[in-house]
């Protein structure tokens, strides 16, 4: 028996494993164990090994956020895009049961391997949100502060809701953050 994969099918599987085990905790044998994909396939699609796998996952995450969050924030009606952002974030992180891989990589020495990608992810999120807030009538300084607060607040909610194993606290915190962002937009 021989199962045939495509690279695009493997990346999301790798993403979940890196999320749960972290970069150092993810080993090739545990990947095989959880997915059934052998070393032959893994090194065929990712000749650079574990580092290339993690890079591919980060790129995939980036594509998703670009399409589902950053782009709409830049393009669509500001208030609507911001509402959609909160809904998407809530779904994407599964009410706090799923963590942010980029945030997790930022915490330990894994950051050194991927620091441009990690930085970019957050810079672009904050910048897209900031500009949406400005378009919604928010002042420049207030918009930056509100955007930073929202993005930072999401990361904190992920850490805390996981530590407390409490998805309600994730929802509560996101609701509060959404309220603050709404309050920063004049006339909402």
């Amino acid at each position: 028996m021989k199962t045939v994969y495509e690279r695009a099918d493997i990346v999301p599987l790798l993403a979940e494993i890196f999320r749960e085990l972290g970069y150092e905790g993810t080993t090739l044998s545990r990947i095989t164990e959880r997915t059934g994909i052998g070393k032959g396939s893994l090194y065929h699609f990712f000749p650079g090994g574990k580092e290339e796998m993690a890079a591919a996952v980060l790129a995939d995450v980036d594509v998703w956020f670009e399409r589902a969050v950053y782009e709409p924030l830049r393009r669509d009606d500001a208030a609507a895009a911001i509402d959609a952002m909160w809904a998407n974030v809530m779904d994407y992180f599964r009410s706090g049961r799923r963590i942010c891989l980029v945030g997790a990589f930022a915490l330990d020495e894994t950051r050194e391997r991927f620091s441009p990608a990690i930085r970019d992810y957050f810079v672009r999120w904050i910048e897209a949100l900031r500009r949406a807030l400005v378009r919604a009538g928010c002042g420049e300084a207030a918009a930056l502060a509100a955007a930073e607060e929202a993005v930072s607040g999401i990361q904190g909610a992920l850490v805390l809701s996981r530590a407390l194993d409490d998805t309600d606290m994730f929802r509560r915190t996101l609701d509060r953050l959404a309220g603050r962002l709404a309050a920063a937009q004049p006339g909402r």
Copy 2:
């Protein structure tokens, strides 16, 4: 030549290593490499190996927060203790250059090993802060929300300031969080 250590001297060294490398990324050889402490000593003081070392570090962290933060929040004048908390947190996390080990452990599967300690750390922090806010005249529901927001916000600031490699953003965020907490206390 033979250097003699005490257990109490080793724990803080281990703490920094676990912080930087994470639980899985911390290996005995890297501990020896960074501290000069050999396996003989490590297994003499921590017969349970790496897991016992990490547990000892978590216990040490807990003691520090209990003494420097939770206790004063429960005992001292509420407003003064809260001010002291912000100053202590800023110092302890070195303006965002040092991460929260407990928060980092909460993110990946390491949580499963230490979940009671991780949960306790945050539960007690939030509860001590909540009660201080109530003593300061804050309503029950508002006090809980404000306490959660502060503790969660600190974790988010650690993630984001590290991702952006920006200590100023840590300071800015903590200032904003402190301001929100002050606003939650009537007559400040």
